[in-house]
């Protein structure tokens, strides 16, 4: 440490820490509500440690306690370590993922948990910060001004390796999170075309489920043709370009169709189908979505009140304290509570963008954007799935969902950023 603790403390971004604390606190209240049972005693009253350990809310206290220790360590460690050891972290995580793949017992169909005595860890959670550090370090070392296919290939490989290992362990949801890095890369200069194409593919996927393929192609042809004709004075000079755009879009229709029907496994296909028609799988994923919407929808404007929820108390909602914790928020705190949570996430994300932008190093900035993007992806997909706007993907709501791995993972992501930020004034522009 190069400065006094007091000065160091002042240079920490307390706004982010405040938002973090609020979110973890509110998250715990909701975990308590979700795992609270009306016939069990309230709080700690007269229960042994073993009895208490049966409750998620109690274990979450332990997780929060350890997270506090973790965050102190994270900001105390010399910020340069994150830069220096970025690739080491990355290598360790990749190794852990590989090991997990071979030694893990399957839990709920996935081989993604490492068991160390009573503690279960999900290495996939830690792959996020390690990969974020590694790609940031890499980005800082390449010249953005010159396209270099080799650098791009290395970056793509670095980004894809952990999610591929995670997919192999049957945790597709956690793997999809790595898609969030695209937002950070976009900020650092990636062509917007990639985001546009991905967004278009998503739209086409949904349209392909709603409309027969030939109708969809016909509709696209009509729209593109119409656009072409209206702007024919300019466009006629670009007929080959227009035709190739048309060909690409039609190709995407077939590609999406192939992806949906041949690449996706039946249970994954169902998760997308129920978005459009929850009754497609009324007892499976559709059931989860329906129950989740019922829980949130029954909260009304003001909610039923703390511990007054009925839907999230009685196992109607699956995984109610983990992936579906937002149901408890929606049911007990209503629309107002949901909005508070959304505002907190927006505040955190905006603050992260602000913090990232004030970094003098590409490493710090890229890492900041990676953190923001990962938080955003989790938020968008998790909340989206509980309200039927995103497919059911088993990823937690950052800082709210019950679970040590997830809380640690997001704490690490965030506090490495804060550590880097705290030293930004001493950082040299690379």
């Amino acid at each position: 440490m190069s400065s006094s603790p007091a000065r160091y403390s002042r240079s920490l971004d307390w706004v982010t820490i405040g938002i973090y604390a609020l979110m973890v606190g509110l998250g715990w209240l909701n975990v308590y509500a979700a795992s609270y049972s009306p016939d069990a005693p309230l709080g700690f009253a007269g229960q042994s440690f073993q009895e208490l350990m049966a409750n998620n809310w109690f274990k979450q206290i332990i997780w929060i306690g350890t997270a506090v220790v973790l965050m102190v360590i994270l900001v105390v460690v010399d910020y340069k370590a994150y830069d220096t050891f970025a690739y080491v972290f990355y290598a360790v995580v990749v190794l852990l993922l590989l090991v997990t793949l071979f030694i893990a017992r399957p839990i709920a169909g996935s081989r993604s948990w490492l068991e160390l005595g009573p503690v279960r860890l999900q290495p996939a959670e830690f792959a996020k910060f390690a990969t974020a550090l590694a790609v940031s370090r890499f980005m800082a070392g390449i010249n953005l001004r010159h396209q270099n296919w080799r650098d791009q290939a290395v970056l793509a490989g670095m980004t894809l390796l952990p999610p591929l290992l995670i997919i192999a362990s049957n945790e597709t949801g956690q793997a999809l999170v790595f898609g969030a890095f695209l937002l950070a890369y976009f900020r650092e200069g990636m062509s917007p075309l990639i985001l546009i194409v991905l967004a278009a593919a998503g739209v086409i996927l949904i349209l392909a489920l709603l409309i027969p393929k030939l109708w969809l192609i016909g509709g696209i042809t009509l729209i593109l043709g119409g656009v072409f004709l209206v702007n024919s004075r300019v466009m006629r000079h670009h007929l080959p370009l227009a035709l190739s755009v048309w060909a690409v879009v039609v190709g995407m229709v077939f590609g999406v169709d192939f992806f949906f029907n041949q690449v996706l496994q039946p249970h994954q296909r169902k998760r997308i189908e129920v978005l459009i028609n929850p009754s497609a799988d009324p007892l499976g994923v559709g059931w989860n979505v329906t129950q989740s919407k019922i829980a949130i929808g029954s909260g009304g404007l003001m909610g039923k009140g703390f511990l007054e929820g009925t839907q999230t108390k009685f196992d109607f909602v699956p995984e109610q304290s983990t992936d579906f914790i937002f149901c408890t928020v929606g049911e007990e705190w209503g629309w107002m509570g949901s909005i508070v949570v959304i505002i907190l996430f927006m505040a955190l994300l905006m603050r992260l963008v602000y913090v990232a932008e004030r970094q003098k190093s590409v490493f710090g900035r890229t890492y900041g954007y990676c953190v923001a993007s990962i938080f955003f992806f989790h938020f968008a997909v998790n909340v989206g799935m509980t309200i039927g706007l995103a497919p059911v993907v088993g990823i937690p709501l950052p800082l709210f969902s019950y679970g040590g791995s997830s809380l640690w993972s997001f704490t690490i992501l965030l506090f490495i950023m804060l550590a880097i930020d705290a030293y930004r004034k001493q950082d040299l522009v690379r």
Binding site: A156, G189, M190, S191, L283, K293, T310, G330, I339
Partner: protein, 630 residues
């Protein structure tokens, strides 16, 4: 290639008048916009499902609160001596929750249940169709050996469980027609508002007393509101049971049936078709209610009930047919008593009126002493005598046109006859009672045209034949009326409901239009039928025990085969305690079969034992033996 970085020299980069780094910094706004758009989208969507769309609230209520109906213990049924005849015993269903089935060893389970694998698969498919997460009965009403076989091995079959509930069981082999049976409510009944309290799978009385007293027997259902999760697992009472109601057990029925008499009657009627109804004239209580052929009440309860019901339904002997209530016959000669009473009440004859046995008017049954008074006429069942009695009663000379006179007379006659409870439902506490028929002038107008008929057309009514139909119950009730000298209580089975008495309508006397003294005029004749020398009902005599029986034989002409035999009586004549009517189809002369059968019933009821066992032997076998002996 996944990533393509924009070259600063491309048009896009050069488009901005700022440096590349500044251009890229502008992308933070794109990123922030994406964040905000998603947040706004979520806020709008949440506003829709939480505030605008009320359907989720409704769904939530349905989800978490379950109304659990507690089916109370069904009331018991006792006979008049306090003997339990219908009770409840637990029966066991094999339940299945398809979702919880794990590694099912179908072959072994089927072996335990002694059930074909195919049948098991069908039942399981049906259960899955009903619900994958809710329990539904796979096999209902397991037998005791089946239960024993499966119970100990249930642990090996996750997803399967045993559910106990109450079903009817019987401590009698008799009275099936009166008791009726209990079965699952049909979808059709469920739709009716009368059965709004019932849910699918509930049991209720389908016929007989079980049906008539359904509300009483059923008791009051309790309703408990429970917090449950989607899998139906209870999570405690809703608001500490504030809205719960306790179930109240059904009330017991104390019937007036004399089990021993009932059993005896069914024994006597074995292999025959017909009915016996015995009443206590002083109260209208039904002592015995025999419908032959019969069946054991237990056949319509428990496992395989549906199949057995279909067997009974398709049986050509029609054992399900409730003859005492639903079979209407012309009453035959017994009806002469009613006609005589009506004529006496009209004042057109006296007990001492003499009519010749004029065979030209109507054939008489046999040669006999001259009917110089009503007593002899009844004893000999003289057809011409009662022809003339009825003609006197009908043809009153109130119109110069004899055809109009017959119309007026018949209308008056009908009014009097109906006061005996004939041509209408008596109101017994069983459903599906037939009215019978007492012909009106309008009926004959319809058949022959107005003024197209005269007394000669309808004379057969005078001897209880023709367009007249009464039930066995009504016949017994006529005897009760005569025994009471002019009134009756509506016949009923239930003399006590719970700790109380019978229904109020059964405590009410119904008077006929006939004055009591007219009954005194015919009863000696009825005694003479049984005890007088050459009386048609001599085989019913209980004189050896000092019991005087007053009765009347009947032989009912039947277009479809041999005559039906009937005998109606009450005893003891001076203090009647039992009124009885016996109908035996195709058994010929009433005095030969119906009269001894009635007397055995009376002997059994009044003396509690039967000494005249020779008549039991006499009555054994089917009705055809009496035709040969005639």
């Amino acid at each position: 290639m996944l990533c393509t970085f924009v070259d600063p020299d491309t048009r896009l980069g050069a488009f901005y008048p700022v440096s590349f780094v500044q251009y890229l910094e502008g992308r933070k706004y794109v990123v922030q916009t994406i964040f905000v758009v998603v947040a706004l989208l979520f806020a709008a969507r949440l506003f829709y499902i939480q505030v605008l769309d009320g359907s989720y609230k409704l769904a939530a209520d349905r989800n978490s609160l379950q109304r659990i109906v507690q089916v109370p213990y069904r009331g018991l049924i006792f006979d008049r001596n306090g003997k339990l005849i219908v009770q409840n015993t637990p029966v066991y269903d094999l339940m299945v929750v398809p979702r919880e089935i794990k590694q099912l060893d179908t072959v072994r389970l089927c072996e335990l249940l002694q059930m074909p694998v195919e049948e098991f698969r069908l039942a399981l498919t049906a259960a899955k169709t009903y619900s994958r997460v809710k329990a539904s009965p796979l096999i209902q009403n397991l037998s005791t050996p089946e239960l024993a076989a499966i119970q100990d091995n249930l642990i090996d079959f996750p997803g399967f469980s045993i559910r106990a509930h109450m079903a009817r069981s019987y401590k009698t082999e008799n009275l099936a027609h009166a008791l009726g049976y209990v079965g699952a409510i049909t979808p059709k009944l469920l739709e009716s508002p009368k059965y709004a309290k019932y849910i699918a799978g509930d049991n209720l009385g389908i016929t007989g007393l079980e049906s008539f007293y359904e509300k009483t027997l059923m008791g009051r259902r309790g309703v408990q509101y429970r917090m449950v999760n989607v899998r139906g697992i209870e999570k405690g009472a809703f608001r500490d049971g504030e809205y719960d109601t306790l179930s109240v057990a059904g009330l017991d029925l104390h019937t007036s049936i004399d089990s021993e008499l009932q059993q005896y009657g069914e024994m006597l009627m074995a292999q025959k078709r017909g009915s016996i109804v015995a009443l206590d004239p002083k109260t209208g209580e039904i002592l015995a209610f025999v419908s032959a052929p019969n069946f054991e009440p237990a056949r319509l309860s428990g496992k395989g009930m549906g199949n057995r019901y279909m067997d009974l339904l398709n049986n050509p002997e029609r054992p399900l047919f409730n003859r005492p209530l639903m079979a209407t016959y012309p009453p035959g000669s017994v009806f002469k008593l009613v006609n005589e009473l009506v004529a006496l009440q009209m004042g057109v004859v006296t007990p001492y009126t003499s009519f010749p046995c004029n065979q030209r008017l109507v054939k008489c049954t046999h040669r006999h002493e001259p009917p110089t008074n009503v007593g002899i006429a009844i004893k000999q069942s003289c057809n011409p005598y009662f022809y003339q009695v009825m003609r006197t009663a009908i043809m009153r000379g109130r119109s110069s046109n004899p055809k109009e006179d017959a119309r007026l007379g018949l209308a008056e006659w009908r009014r009097q006859v109906m006061s005996f409870g004939l041509g209408q439902q008596l109101g017994v506490d069983l459903g599906s009672e037939r009215k019978g028929s007492i012909p009106s002038p309008e009926l004959y107008d319809k058949m022959y045209g107005r003024h197209g008929w005269n007394f000669r057309t309808i004379y057969s009514l005078s001897i209880g034949q023709g367009e007249i139909g009464i039930t066995g119950l009504q016949m017994a009730n006529i005897m009760a009326i005569i025994a009471n000298r002019g009134y009756y209580y509506t016949p009923h089975f239930v003399r006590g409901i719970g700790q109380g008495g019978p229904l109020p309508e059964y405590r009410e006397r119904h008077y006929t239009n006939i004055d009591p003294q007219h009954f005194d005029a015919i009863i000696p004749g009825m005694q003479a039928v049984v005890e007088g020398r050459g009386g048609t009902g001599n085989l019913a005599s209980l004189a050896q025990f000092g019991i005087s029986v007053a009765g009347k034989t009947g032989t009912v002409q039947n277009a479809h085969g041999p005559d039906h035999a009937t005998f109606a009586a009450f005893a003891p004549a001076e203090d009647p305690q039992i009124a009885i009517a016996v109908f035996i189809e195709n058994a010929g002369f009433g005095g030969t079969s119906a009269a001894p059968m009635a007397s055995l019933m009376i002997e059994k009821y009044l003396r509690r034992k039967v000494e005249r066992t020779q008549w039991e032997t006499w009555l054994e076998g089917d009705a055809s033996k009496f035709i040969r002996k005639r």
